[in-house]
Amino acid sequence: MTALVFRKLAAMPRLWRLVAVLGGLLIALALPWLIYPPIAMDIVAWALFAVALDLLLGFTGLLSFGHAAFWGSAAYTAGTIAIETGAPFPVAVLGAAVVAMVLAVPIALLAVRRTGIYFAMVTLAFAQMVYYVANQWRGLTGGENGLQGIPKNLFGLDLSDPFYFYYAGLPIALIGLLIAWRVVHSPFGRVLVAIRENPARSRSLGYPVDRYKVMVFVISAGLSGLAGGLYAVSHGFASLQEVYWTTSGKVVIMTVLGGIGTLWGSMIGAAVIVQVEDYLATSGIHIGPVNITGPGLITGLIFVGVVLLFRRGVWGTVAHLLRRRRHVPDAEPHLSGTTVPAAEQEPAVAPKS
């Protein structure tokens, strides 16, 4: 009986999507009741960041390993705007997103001149440059002390309680997610997928591939900026950690763990990683005399494990199983446009050696 219901549901993708969206909204609204509210806000901010990265990684096949540049510069911008002008925090966050987009334009124009692994190295290097600049520009960023005391202004409302701030900040993140969803499901998004699958053919069909890449890069940076600004306001400070390369790596692992090219997966990945890191930071793991504190080791192990054994990610695996039920062929997940289409690949169900 349940199997029948399941099969009928699986055959109705639109209904599924509606269920997923309503379920996701419900979880988002209930989150600060379920877990510590500041962590709930972290999850939402990182989820938007991971979704923004997925626009590039999953839908365009470009691995940006330098997204900390946009998240971090937005954190500083939001902080500066809020401290200096006392503007309502949504204005500060919006300003931060604009600055991230402006920063993304030159980086994108340069980075799209290379593809594949070089793209990752170039973005990583430029992000490191932003890090050095932030470190040196003490007047603006506060150097190693960071920017402290970022206010949460909103027309005189008292948002000092993280529980209330969550509901003030959530709409901003939801708008960001909606933008990402619109991008993916627009003709523009379909062109991005075409570029991922076969850049040469897209070019010969007349699409200016590099211009599309720059556009999606800037959109992605803007959404990352929205997330980074929100994160900084939520915490009340912005630090160098936000622009450091570990932050770029963290958002990549969220997206890969959740399943690239799935949007939902990125949010799941963000939720998992934020919770794991919070747990490690507060309690740590104690195995006999060994005390594992700090996130590096466990995040690293998750990275290695996912890349070796779980490349589809959480959402990718679910989608794969559903598709298998309906006998729809699908491909091994892939990062850039160098893989063969599903039909030419080995059967997806074959065990990986």
């Binding site: 040196q136 390369w245 990549v252 070796l308």
Partner: protein, 290 residues
Amino acid sequence: MTDLLQHAFNGLVNGSFYALLALGLAVIFGMLGVVNFAHGAFYMLGAFGAFILLNEAGVNFWVALLVVPLALGAVGMALERLLVRRLVALDPLYNFLLTFGLTLILQDLLRMKYGSQPQPYPQPAGLRGTVDLGLFDFPAYQVFVLVFSVLVSVGAWLLLARTRVGMIIRAATERPELTRAMGIDVGRWISPVFGFGIALAALSGVLAAPMRAVSPLMGADLIILVFAVVVIGGLGSIFGSVAAGFLIGMLQALGNVYVPGLATTSVFILMAVVLLWRPAGLFGREETAV
């Protein structure tokens, strides 16, 4: 003028670290198509290897300079066999992510054991003090580092250019399929080449220990700079990587004198210029596919 030369010399010394690391990266990339993020971690492990050997077993610098690269080279070979090989057939980005994860693990393990505070490592006896280079005095150890790394680079070049093994490796790097078709077992050389690249990283780590403090984070920031170096030099070109390494070392040192604010960013600005002017790198060839 003397001042300028002295700064240039300093730059060459720093550049020799870039050159050795870039050389290892380029060899591994050529043979496997893998960009090894963990290269910086192995540089750090090299420095820690020397540090641990000295403090736990009283082993001196010269022995460490031989033993640590050999040991870590073996670790590198095992790493290639156990992990990297599984992902080689897939998109190269997967191995980039794998080695990134390994970097986080290795870094954190050492941080938990030794803390993140930089630790000093004494300069080897015999290389303390300065030597007179005619125009100026220069710390003896720095001179040694420069000479030694130039010798290693030249040695690596001779190995690749003049020996049968080198010929096979170069052929396998350029046209793996064709080399295989000539009846040469390319697969046999993959692990040793990976190990060799890692050993070079470890070697630069040991060399760095007496000059720079030993800390778990010493490799990661450096390797990102080296990524910029190889983008500038062209990762496909072994000569290009080494030349770019020395060049950028000098550029940074001179930049530090004339435009202090730009010293750290000069590499990235140069990278931007190269991307605009010669996207494949100064010495690189255009990528064929993608």
